[in-house]
């Protein structure tokens, strides 16, 4: 399984994601410059965290027009696995692969911490190595992770079990329904504010993020 990690100007978790794929899966992974348009050789695409285009105007708003995004949209349509982490999640919402929007944290501060999450749905390509209801710890680091969508969208997300992760006790950003990560209707595009690549070995404080990567690999192998 070949992974691509897109690098936008201002991405800063791209190498962290590369290292996570290498360290957890030992799978081939390369960074892809935002101007590259050919993603055919890859089976999965990671949109990493950071501040693409400085987060100017709105988070993700400028990056979504990068040439690589057309190919990401196409890859998603083909059913390839796409995961957007933090800034990547924001880009996926802006480009319309995921519903809703990410707004400034309700307390208006940047927040770096390791909250507890609940895995709400373990029947997806990204979570199949977890148990539904499992409590896990994955760090967050964002100023704009306050997920917003209207009532109807929320209802759809709930009904279709598209909410994969919720903040467990304390909501660190004011996110609607405590949402930390959602998946698209088709089940192959995940956006999440927490950073699984920051929780892959014990010395990091938690290794709970590794199963996202192992789930993706197992899902691909079983296809």
């Amino acid at each position: 399984m070949r992974f691509a990690v897109a690098t936008f100007p201002g991405s800063n978790c791209d190498l962290d994601c590369v290292h996570a794929v290498e360290d957890v899966l030992g799978a081939p992974v390369s960074t892809v410059w935002h101007q590259q348009t050919d993603l055919d050789e890859f089976d999965a695409i990671i949109l990493p965290g950071g501040f693409s285009y400085g987060d100017y105007l709105r988070t993700g708003a400028l990056a979504r027009f990068s040439p690589v995004m057309e190919s990401v949209v196409a890859a998603a349509k083909q059913g390839k696995l796409v995961i957007g982490i933090c800034n990547g999640f924001q880009i996926l919402c802006e480009v319309g692969l995921l519903p809703g929007a990410l707004m400034a944290n309700d307390h208006l501060q940047f927040r770096c911490a390791t909250p507890e999450l609940v895995v709400e749905n373990a029947d997806t390509p990204f979570t199949q190595d977890y148990q539904s209801g499992e409590q896990i710890q994955i760090p967050i680091a964002h100023g704009e992770g306050n997920y917003y969508c209207d009532e109807q969208t929320l209802q759809e997300l709930e009904e279709n079990r598209q909410i994969l992760f919720r903040y467990n006790s304390e909501n660190p950003n004011g996110s609607t329904a405590g949402i930390a990560g959602i998946i698209n209707r088709a089940g192959n595009v995940l956006g999440m504010m927490p950073h699984p690549e920051r929780a892959i070995v014990d010395w990091m404080g938690s290794a709970d993020g590794a199963k996202i990567f192992t789930s993706m690999l197992r899902n691909w192998e079983e296809r």
Binding site: G10, N12, D16, F110, H195, M204
Partner: protein, 752 residues
């Protein structure tokens, strides 16, 4: 003859009306310039000299004192003088680090002032060819009961967070202190740590006649003109007028600049590289030429400009951020341009290296400055200021009023201390910093020192910033020693061998003999400690004139220490690991409450003498502790600092989910036993089975070593002194007070 713009004061007017004074030049300095040039300088030239001879660039007031610092050691690859110091960590790798102040800009525009301070120090590190891996800071504010202070604190922290988070370098540690003396003059010091392989070490040097001078990065605007001199004057109503001295930072641009420069370094395309920081284009180009003892010619028409009709003076002195100056061989130009293009950066060839010693600047075909380059750097004036023992020092020394601290209920003192903003949890601060980006942070903020692993090796770096200015005020020499010793101790507690120091000397006006004495003595103390602990000073920064009204800040040397952890298995934190583990105190508790946090909290003052630091004892403590850690027997180690043993014990409990049961026996009072701030002390915990080993090692290194209790399952802190129970509190309760103190203060109103 050099050209003068008709819109600017003529050379004669500059002289007749003493206009050079507005730029911070003294009369005799101006006369020296005339001597160097053999004619009257024009407006631009006066500007160039004024920034090059400012304290910030020339250290004219501090140089004679700075020479006292030990700067050499077997591992030092680059000492003071370049963008940052460089120390070998083995395997062909080196650590690069530097601290710098941004006090004055932060006082008037806290968010951008602090943000651009971070941006500047990052450029200093990557201009050495190193990849920045961590940021730290050291902050000082007035009392949080003041609304203006709250505003400054909130915005400084947000500004630091903004820059570091956006560029993607983790902010892993630092310190914040609140004290009345900083009310009108907050301190914002930022430190950056980077890694490089030896063969990638770059220097800020121009050489090779005909080589090109290339400008990369953001356009030049009229912002920040005279920032370097601004940094060296007292804050007054007048600085309100120098408003444009504050710039807006663009961390996004700096990220692009960083990545582009890293590519240039990897491809070995550079002869020299230097950040355009304080004094902008002037300082970077003149210093590079002076270092290479060559001339330089600059054409200002080619400098990318954000505003129209900028004068040579404005272009030369602008401190617009996120700019780099390169010297390259012409054959590499195309590759440099390609890299810039990839990263969306503009670049421009703005000049070349010339034979001889002239620093010549052209605009629109006219020569607008023509200066012998060495006079800008080597001939900067140096002042040996007068020093005098201040009256307050002699008075304070005699006062011994720590008796007033006795007789209070120890538990209520403990409760007060734990909520003092100086000792309370700084989570409110560091949770705003991305301290994990880069996935290398092994010890997060909240322990004695932060630890960042070195990917691809089993090594890690420990780092800390420290400085207690009350101690320095009461006794600059002791205070200077303590600053270095504490920083080193913090790093040792994390399992590291201290490697070296970068320091930031934040003081008042050196023209005041009392203050010059403080500076001189503090440097003596720091030097002695660096000498004994074998931690050379490889870089630093001086920030003088930190005064408001006629009130100077406490003398505040800040020490940034970096240490090397040989194996990740040695990484140690302050948190208890398991019930039943035995708690030891290494070191000795004396009756030392002068300048303590307890004294300040109870009396609102500091007086007397600070703790005494015996360097030999400190050295054996650190060597012994490191040996214990390397033998794998230490499960937790925590430095004793402000608040004494009581606070240290509480901190080790906080995140452990465990408690501690402690029995102290002391020849002193309860209050002294609990809150004395005696130096050279560390708490450690070991498994029962390792007690003997620990005691043997302590004996071997001649460290006083007392078993004082054990870690318990119950989340309680129970302390008995001489058979009397003095503290008995539940950890969740005290944790709530400890973590709530700063957020609670910050809820109330803010105003700029």
């Amino acid at each position: 003859m050099v050209y003068s713009l008709p819109t600017e004061p003529s050379p004669e007017q500059v002289r007749e009306q003493s206009l050079y004074r507005e730029m911070g030049l003294a009369d005799d300095e101006y006369e020296q310039i005339i001597g160097h040039l053999g004619r009257l300088p024009n407006w631009t030239e006066v500007g160039v000299y004024s920034v090059m001879w400012s304290e910030h660039c020339s250290y004219k007031n501090s140089k004679p004192l700075l020479r006292k610092f030990p700067t050499e050691g077997p591992r030092v690859l680059q000492g003071p003088g370049e963008g940052a110091g460089v120390i070998d960590i083995g395997d062909g790798q080196a650590v690069v680090f530097k601290i710098e102040s941004h006090n004055h800009p932060s006082a008037v525009e806290p968010f951008q002032g602090a943000a651009t301070g971070v941006g500047g120090i990052i450029r200093d590190v990557f201009s050495m060819g190193a990849r920045p891996v961590a940021l730290l800071n050291s902050l000082r504010f007035g009392s949080l009961d003041n609304n203006r202070v709250k505003y400054l604190f909130e915005h400084v922290v947000a500004g630091i967070a903004h820059y570091g988070n956006c560029i993607g370098i983790p902010t892993v540690g630092g310190e914040v202190v609140f004290d009345q003396s900083y009310e009108g003059n907050p301190l914002v010091n930022a430190m950056c740590v980077g890694l490089l392989s030896h063969d990638q070490l770059q220097k800020g040097i121009a050489s090779g006649v005909g080589n090109l001078v290339v400008y990369v990065g953001a356009s030049t605007g009229r912002d920040g003109i005279h920032g370097a001199t601004f940094a060296s004057v007292e804050l007054s109503e007048e600085s309100e007028e120098k408003r444009s001295a504050v710039q807006v930072g663009d961390p996004f641009m700096e990220k692009l600049l960083l990545e582009a420069c890293m590519e240039m370094v990897e491809q070995e395309l550079l002869v020299g590289i230097q950040d355009m920081g304080a004094a902008g284009l002037t300082c970077s180009s003149a210093e590079m030429a002076a270092k290479g003892t060559c001339g330089m010619e600059l054409n200002l028409d080619r400098v990318p400009q954000r505003e129209t009709n900028m004068s040579p003076y404005e272009i030369m002195l602008s401190e617009s951020q996120e700019r780099m100056l390169l010297v390259i061989e012409e054959q590499n130009l195309a590759r440099i341009e390609a890299i810039c293009k990839k990263w969306g950066l503009q670049s421009a060839v703005i000049g070349q290296v010339t034979k001889g010693d002239r620093y010549q600047v052209y605009q629109k075909g006219e020569c607008v400055a023509d200066i012998p380059v060495m006079t800008l750097v080597d001939d900067a004036p140096i002042y040996h200021r007068e020093e005098k023992i201040p009256a307050y020092y002699t008075e304070m020394k005699e006062i011994n009023d720590t008796d007033q601290l006795e007789g209070h209920n120890p538990e209520s003192l403990f409760e007060q201390l734990i909520q003092s903003p100086n000792l309370a949890s700084k989570r409110w601060v560091y949770q705003q910093y991305d301290h994990m980006v880069g996935t290398s942070t092994a010890v997060l903020p909240g322990s004695d020192a932060a630890v960042v692993v070195v990917r691809g090796t089993d090594k890690a770096l420990a780092m800390s910033t420290d400085g207690n200015s009350r101690y320095v005020y009461l006794n600059p020499e002791q205070g200077g020693r303590i600053a270095v010793a504490e920083a080193a101790r913090n790093v040792v507690c994390a399992g590291a061998e201290p490697l070296g120091v970068t320091d930031c000397l934040n003081f008042g006006s050196p023209e005041n003999p009392d203050i010059y004495w403080q500076l001189s003595k503090a440097i003596d103390g720091m030097s002695a400690a660096c000498h004994t602990l074998k931690t050379p000073i490889v870089g630093g920064n001086v920030s003088l004139y930190n005064e408001s009204g006629d009130q100077a800040i406490y003398p505040t040397p800040v020490v940034g220490m970096v240490g090397l952890i040989e194996q990740r298995a040695h990484i140690t934190t302050q948190t208890w690991k398991g019930a039943g583990e035995q708690i030891y105190l290494l070191g000795e508790t004396l009756a030392e409450l002068g300048g303590s946090e307890l004294q300040y909290v109870v009396t609102g003052q500091v007086s007397g003498q600070p703790p005494v630091l015996d360097l030999e004892k400190e050295k054996s403590l650190q060597t012994g502790l490191l040996a214990m850690i390397r033998q794998g027997i230490v499960t937790a180690a925590h430095d004793l600092a402000e608040g004494g043993i009581a606070l240290a014990l509480a901190e080790s409990c906080m995140d452990s989910g465990l408690g501690a049961e402690i029995t102290l026996s002391s020849p002193h009072s309860h209050v002294t036993a609990l809150f004395s701030e005696s130096q050279s002390r560390v708490l450690v915990s070991v498994k029962k089975s390792d007690m003997e080993k620990l005691e043997q090692l302590a004996a071997k290194y001649q460290i006083p070593c007392t078993r004082i209790g054990e870690v318990i399952e119950q989340e309680k802190l129970l302390i008995e002194v001489n058979g009397e129970e003095v503290i008995g509190r539940s950890i969740p309760d005290i944790k709530q007070l400890w973590e709530g103190a700063i957020p609670c203060k910050m809820k109330a109103s803010l105003t700029n």
